[in-house]
């Protein structure tokens, strides 16, 4: 399924999209330095809540995963774990240049370069780091896309699960770490 392929929806799904497009909860996970612009976006200056967005404590409750900037391998494992714990439909917004192609960390041995190899990204925000206005804009766009049924990252992830898993394994070696190495 290519990005943006429209599928006919049942009226229940349409109703669902109506609500999902107006109320989006994000997961409270500061994966990288882009997270420093989240508090201003959340708080009184930019007031994300007026768009129906809010932070949620756990992946089960959340709708979007914000990948705020670069991802180290260690974090990538945990992000994948969290993403798989989230409930459908779920979306990913990736922040900043680092998530697109590695950014200034293109030659770092511990950060990945292409996030969409491992997880289905629904929206990228350019910049280093993206300003709150850009973040708000992205959220607005995402909501509109959800309402128009144009985001299908979670479906793609399900469909191409093997491919994603292969990429993940290549980059991180082991997705679920079962060795208590620090003990």
């Amino acid at each position: 399924m290519a990005i943006g392929d429209k599928v006919e929806l049942s009226s229940w799904e349409k109703l669902g999209n109506f609500f999902r497009g107006r109320s989006v909860w994000m997961m409270w996970y500061c994966t990288g330095c882009g997270a420093i612009e989240m508090p201003p976006t959340m708080t009184s200056r930019f007031d994300m809540e007026r768009l129906g967005m809010g932070p949620m404590a756990t992946p089960r409750q959340a709708d979007i995963l914000l990948v705020t900037g670069y991802l180290s391998v260690k974090t990538l494992r945990r992000v994948i774990y969290s993403y798989e714990q989230m409930q459908d439909p779920k979306y990913i917004i990736a922040f900043g240049a680092c998530a697109v192609n590695g950014g200034i960390y293109f030659d770092s041995y511990s950060t990945i370069n292409k996030l969409d190899d491992y997880l289905p990204v629904d929206m990228y925000i350019a910049g280093c780091m993206p300003r709150p206005e850009a973040i708000m804009n992205a959220f607005n766009d995402l909501q509109e896309k959800i309402r128009n049924n144009e985001v299908d990252g979670w479906k793609r992830y399900k469909k191409n699960y093997d491919q994603y898993k292969k990429n993940q394994l290549k980059a991180v070696g082991e997705v679920y770490v079962h060795d208590e190495f620090h003990e």
Binding site: G32, T43, R45
Partner: protein, 374 residues
């Protein structure tokens, strides 16, 4: 051992946990609600900065160094510039030094405001968080006006600063400081004098002086426990900190409340310093000394090694720079200010506290994950 295992529960504080600011994890072994054993788990933000910096030119490193500490990026630029200047033997022009100080102090106010707002998270006083972060945003606006960026400014460069102040900046800063001073009592009422904050943080999360020395904690933690003005700005003045009047708030009994109070007082002192800077800064003068000859990208710093440190909001923040006389640094090691409390401190002194206190512990001790992970 088997019996003991039954009594303990392993809980994870972070990385994806609302009580954890930043991508950092603490594995806690809990009996009831008392933490019996704690293990820090850094490295989620590890980017290999020390390696990356060796691969870049002396000047192009400016692009990445602010990213080591996300909350207070300017200190990185300052430390790096100080180190390069020390190795290259460059004198910084007077006005540039004042501007550097101004940036550092603005960053300090912003960071402390952020941290004070952050106290709202673990204690549940979200209103203070909303207010303080919005307040900090106004400083970021000033930064944007000055440097063109909100967070990573890259304004302090070896040899001085990038540009002169924009027109009317001093007045704007002055006006902002006035308004901030007027608002500070509000925060005091809301946060520092709140009886429930007192019940939660008074006599809680102690940091005795012996622990400070054992771990090597610096900054507010050290000053609140020892009662001495152990502040690099006083002990080993860099820039023109010896030319401005300010006090270093100290205390002899370090509980969470004291440390919150000290943070607040440091904001007041920074405002005082900023006012003096506005007054004393010369209007005219160069803001950048020539460093090296010709193309800045071909800058070669004389061989040698130097350790430079500044006082960040969390303590001594230093770079150890080694040059072998080539275009690129040979080795740069970063001393994150929260390294001692964020790793050994968690291992040794988080146990014994309650789960309820763990996030507050992290906040008031000033654990900042990006500078630990680098």
């Amino acid at each position: 051992m088997e019996v003991n295992k039954l009594k303990e529960v392993k809980l994870f504080l972070g990385p994806q946990h609302p009580g954890m600011h930043g991508n950092y994890s603490v594995h806690m072994y809990v009996d009831g609600d008392i933490i019996k054993k704690a293990r820090p788990m850094p490295g989620m933000l590890h980017r290999g900065f020390e390696k990356l910096m060796e691969r870049k030119l002396w000047m192009s490193n400016m692009a990445i160094i602010p990213r080591i500490c996300v909350i207070e990026p300017d200190i990185n630029e300052m430390v790096y510039a100080m180190g390069v200047e020390a190795l290259a033997g460059v004198e910084v022009p007077e006005k540039a030094t004042w501007i550097r100080m101004m940036i550092l102090e603005m960053a300090r106010v912003a960071t402390h405001l952020f941290a004070l707002g952050g106290i709202g998270g673990p204690t549940g006083l979200y209103t203070s968080m909303y207010w303080a972060v919005a307040e900090r945003d106004l400083i970021l606006d000033l930064f944007e006006k000055l440097t063109g960026a909100r967070v990573y400014h890259i304004f302090i460069v070896p040899g001085g600063v990038r540009k002169d102040l924009p027109e009317g900046f001093k007045t704007q800063l002055g006006t902002y400081l006035e308004s901030l001073e007027k608002k500070l009592p509000e925060y005091q009422e809301l946060l520092l004098k709140h009886p429930i904050i007192h019940t939660r943080s008074k006599d809680n999360i102690l940091l005795p002086a012996e622990v400070v020395h054992e771990l090597g904690v610096t900054g507010i933690g050290m000053r609140s426990a020892t009662g001495k003005a152990y502040d690099l700005r006083k002990v080993k003045p860099y820039a023109f900190y010896d030319q401005v009047e300010f006090e270093v708030p100290t205390a002899t009994y370090s509980d969470a409340l004291t440390r919150i109070h000290l943070k607040f007082q440091e904001i007041q002192q920074s405002i005082r310093i900023l006012k003096q800077i506005i007054e004393k800064m010369p209007d005219e003068g160069p803001v950048k000394a020539p460093i090296g000859t010709g193309n800045a990208l071909k800058l070669r710093v004389p061989a040698g090694m130097v350790y430079t440190a500044v006082e960040s909001t969390r303590g001594e923040y230093g770079y150890f720079i080694v040059s072998n006389g080539k275009e690129k640094p040979y080795r740069i090691a970063v001393r994150g200010a929260s390294y001692p409390q964020g790793l050994l401190g968690i291992e040794r002194y988080l146990p014994g506290h309650r789960i309820d206190d763990a996030p507050l512990w992290m906040d008031t001790m000033g654990v900042c994950s990006p500078e630990i992970d680098r």
